[in-house]
Symmetry: C2
Subunit: 343 residues, 2 copies
């Protein structure tokens, strides 16, 4: 069933039917009703390709999946996508995914533009210095950054968590509990989010007059085994920390695993705090209770995905161009993995 068939069936022109379906004012309410009803019962869907060709607009948002050498798929990334896809679906948009090596990413964006495949893209994992912003701007491809670059100047749309503030709060929380040797198991510090977290951690320590011990800080991809490795290394030190701050709940789980192997209980023998992206597969489902119950700074990455989708669509449709940047505050959640320093 296409427009032509539908319109002859209705005894109307294609113009009128198209206008009726797209909500143009030139068509009477009565006719519109009749058209909508016919379209519904005939199960008519306009062809997105034809519409794209005619209008130059496409209701598709592109995301590039980085395929690193380790084939590491960031679960944070997939939860973000899940949220975003809900946002898209609600607005009648679709999500297009393309796998690419990091060095191919620029070529993918160029391909998106010259083939007119997508109406906009979401940039993932921004770095302090990120050439993608300049590229996308020069390509004229609408975009939204999940996170920020280092030199974020309000000149492009982004959605981010206030990572510096979050880690300053977390570190201060541990300091207030009496801890002075606080380890940081951070993400890759070339990434803006991790650099900001580091800055928050540093600031809190300095404001309290504590010294930064380089032996207590780690920086790597936030996977479970990394949390395990880093914690094992910490426990082997001559003067181990009394509190550990993790950048992701995945690291935190690896951390707890290492502690358990060494007979240490988080919240009793040592304090553990983490940033919690509310990853879906770590949440209790159904009527089960009990999560790891970490003391954490919490901000749902899935919600961020949903909101990002909405903002980007607004940008593409020119509804509100004043979205330059949105910053969310993380929430402090007190769990059972922290306690005042003993003796």
């Amino acid at each position: 069933m296409n427009l032509k068939e539908l319109s002859t069936q209705l005894g109307l022109s294609q113009t009128t039917v198209s206008r009726a379906l797209n909500g143009f004012p030139e068509v009477s309410e009565k006719t519109r009703e009749r058209v909508l009803e016919a379209a519904r019962s005939a199960n008519y869907r306009p062809s997105p390709s034809a519409a794209h060709l005619a209008t130059g607009k496409t209701r598709v948002i592109g995301h590039v999946i980085p395929t690193t050498q380790h084939r590491m798929i960031n679960p944070h990334f997939s939860d973000f996508l899940a949220g975003a896809s809900e946002g898209y679906a609600a607005a009648g948009y679709d999500m297009l995914l393309r796998a690419a090596e990091p060095e191919e990413e620029a070529a993918v964006y160029e391909d998106f533009v010259s083939s007119k495949r997508v109406g906009g893209v979401v940039v993932h994992g921004p770095r302090l210095q990120d050439s993608r912003i300049g590229l996308l701007r020069s390509l004229g491809l609408p975009f939204l950054v999940h996170g920020r670059t280092g030199a974020e100047d309000g000149s492009y749309p982004w959605l981010d968590v206030n990572n510096k503030e979050a880690f300053e709060i977390a570190t201060n929380y541990l300091i207030k509990l009496g801890h002075t040797r606080i380890a940081l198991i951070n993400g890759l510090e070339e990434m803006t989010f991790a650099a900001q977290r580091r800055a928050g951690y540093d600031a809190a320590l300095q404001n309290s007059g504590l010294t930064l011990d380089p032996e207590l800080t780690f920086s790597a991809d936030m996977v479970e085994p990394y949390g395990y490795e880093a914690t094992s290394a910490l426990l082997n030190q001559s003067n181990p920390p009394t509190a550990i701050l993790c950048a992701s709940i995945l690291c935190a789980m690896g951390c707890v695993r290492a502690l358990a192997e060494n007979g240490m209980r988080p919240g009793k023998d040592i304090s553990v705090m983490t940033f919690d992206d509310v990853l879906s597969f770590l949440q209790p489902s159904g009527n089960q209770r009990s999560s790891p119950a970490f003391t954490s700074m919490r901000s749902s990455i899935q919600d961020a995905g949903r909101r990002s989708a909405e903002i980007l669509i607004d940008v593409i449709e020119g509804k509100s161009s004043d979205h330059t940047g949105v910053c969310w505050e993380a929430e402090l959640v007190e769990g059972r993995t922290t306690s005042p320093l003993r003796d």
Copy 2:
């Protein structure tokens, strides 16, 4: 830059240029070279929408993301997608994602067909009785099932792991170690994969003359807190198991967490085995070693995604229609979480 511009620039007709680009034999090698070079230097990309309109074919594969009430995004799902998107990218295909409530899934497929959005779909999470196969067949939309339905009759393409065999092997492995009280923390048994795993477990116990204790088996979504809950419940029983078999490494991690809280060490005080989908974010990255080192049945879900993509593309392009079903065997990996039953 479009075809028309490119062809006038070359002093050729659109036909010739199109044929040169698409590898038709009617054009001389010399001309083809010239055309390809010009296309490259002009950074020309044909419009997928226009090509779609002209040919009726679209190089896009659809995936439906189920958005359950718990907003649970299966990390197994996302690792599969990561693999699949690599397979698509290699063949010049793209992946289209659409979020939908489970009950909307059928409507999404109908929409895909009537709007001609995709050239095929991958069906995720097949159940023993699954109406989607019949629907897709009647819609004439090419598809591949990741997994199988219960009544798999070789009449549709699928890629699956031999789950029954895998869990029979795993259970037998534990039995050989002397265990007789073996718990199963399984996935949702309405799903085929979980039902098959259950069947393998049952078969192994029966073949060894062991009795099935319903108190030792659990069935739910495979998230970490579920593994924790189930294990906690098991440890509270009057006659707790001496071995636990988990359906996912996520459950296994929850299981180990519960054990640790109760002062039990896997591989020492109790044996733990799991199915390992080789989830990327649990793998050590870089030069770190050490994973949880579970004794496990292993099969990479990311590889499955990649292969699924290849098969589905073959089906769509009519290259090989004899792909009715592909069954992979899981590999037994001996880790440090199992040991012979003591006393």
